[in-house]
Structures are given as C-alpha cells and as structure tokens.
C-alpha cells in the first residue's frame, strides 16, 4: 500500500513536469529558453517517471529496481550534455536570441560565424 502511494505520487509529479516541458516548448520565444524548458524540467520529470516503476517493482522484482536506478543515473548524465552541445551549436552559428534578451556574457568568449547552410528560416 505504501509502495503504491509512493509510486502514484512520483508518477503524478513526473507527469506534471513533463507537461510543463511540453507547454514550455510551445510557448517560449527562442531556442535558448526552449532548451531551458526541455533540459531542466524534462530531466526532473523523466527521473521521477522512471522512479515510479522502480519503487513499484522494488519488492516483487529487485533487479528491475537496479535497472531503474541505472536509467536515472544515465538520464542525469546524458540529457544536460546533449542540451549543452545543442546550445553551443546554436550560439556558434549565431542563432539570434529573443529581442528582450538583455545580457550576452558569452559574446567576449565564443566566436560566432554566420550559418550559411542552415541560416535560412
């Protein structure tokens, strides 16, 4: 019973974060803010959603729980790395930020070049 309540709680919160990711992907104005939504809320949401069967199968099938813990660790290792690589690629190919962006601290550090191949809208 306690296991089922814990599983229901984690999967409800995880689904909330995933839906927040989807809404952020549609509503945010430029690619960097969309990355903010997909990289942070998405990672937390997917970790909670993997945690739900990890808790639920903990008593009946412990090896599934071990695989779930591995999946959470891999998710926290890989998703921020992929988001960083995409953000770096966008900035290096001078993807314009939204017009209300005020601070661009990366301008002095990272050279950008115009994107000939993918620069068209």
């Amino acid at each position: 019973m306690v296991v089922e309540v814990l599983a229901a709680l984690t999967m409800t919160v995880g689904t909330f974060f995933i839906v927040v990711t989807g809404v952020g992907l549609v509503r945010f104005p430029d690619v960097y803010t969309r990355m903010h939504a997909a990289g942070k809320a998405g990672t937390v949401g997917i970790a909670l959603l993997i945690l739900a069967p990890t808790i639920y199968f903990a008593t009946s099938d412990p090896f599934v729980s071990i695989r779930g813990c591995l999946a959470i660790v891999f998710q926290f290792l890989t998703t921020p790395g992929a988001t960083y690589l995409l953000a770096h690629a966008c900035y290096a190919t001078s993807y314009a930020a939204h017009s209300r962006t005020e601070i661009d601290e990366l301008k002095d550090w990272l050279p950008t070049y115009p994107d000939e191949e993918f620069g068209r809208e």
């Binding site: 089922e4 599983a7 229901a8 999967m11 409800t12 995880g14 689904t15 909330f16 995933i18 839906v19 990711t21 989807g22 809404v23 992907l25 549609v26 690619v31 969309r34 990355m35 997909a38 998405g42 990672t43 949401g45 997917i46 959603l49 993997i50 739900a52 069967p53 639920y56 199968f57 099938d61 599934v64 695989r67 779930g68 591995l70 999946a71 891999f74 998710q75 890989t78 998703t79 790395g81 992929a82 988001t83 690589l85 995409l86 770096h88 690629a89 966008c90 290096a92 190919t93 993807y95 191949e117 993918f118 809208e121």
Partner: protein, 91 residues
C-alpha cells in the same frame, strides 16, 4: 495493482499524450533545425515515461530494458545533430 492506481496511471498516460502532441507541434512549426532537435529530445523523454507507466499498468517488466537503453541512445542522436549543426558534418 489496485484499481485507483490503475486509474491514476491512465490519467498520467493521457497527460503524457498531451505532452507528446505539444512536442510534435513544436517539431512541425519549429523555425530552424535546432528547435526540432530539442523537440525530438523532449519527445524521447516523453516516450521513456510512457514505457515506464505501461510497465506498471500491465504489471510486466519485459519492456523495462528499453527504458535504460533509450536513456543511453537518445542522447547520441541529439548530440550528433548538434555536431552536424555546428560544423556541417558529424565526425
């Protein structure tokens, strides 16, 4: 699995479907390739969550291997797209 947990899982699956539709919408209208790559990343996360919830719903642990294999492989796709966008080639 008790009845209320089954109903909770079904409601969560419906909201994951809503998130899938939102990600696909961004993938269709996204102005450039980077937006579509981010939407693909988020979509793989939604699909992993769906597999987890279906494992619980069906009481089967068969598909749970797909979860951590997808957590490893989904990352490779978006990083390859990022390299391709930055340099015009992958390697």
């Amino acid at each position: 699995m008790s009845a209320w947990l089954a109903i909770t899982t079904d409601i969560c699956l419906f909201f994951l479907f809503v998130a899938t539709v939102l990600c696909l919408y961004r993938m269709v209208i996204g102005p450039r390739a980077a937006d579509r790559a981010i939407a693909l990343d988020a979509l793989s996360a939604v699909i992993i969550g769906m597999i987890c919830l279906l494992c619980m719903r069906w009481g089967s642990t068969l598909y749970f291997d797909a979860v951590w294999i997808l957590t490893l492989v989904g990352f490779l796709g978006s990083s390859a797209i990022a390299k391709y966008l930055a340099r015009g080639r992958v390697f």
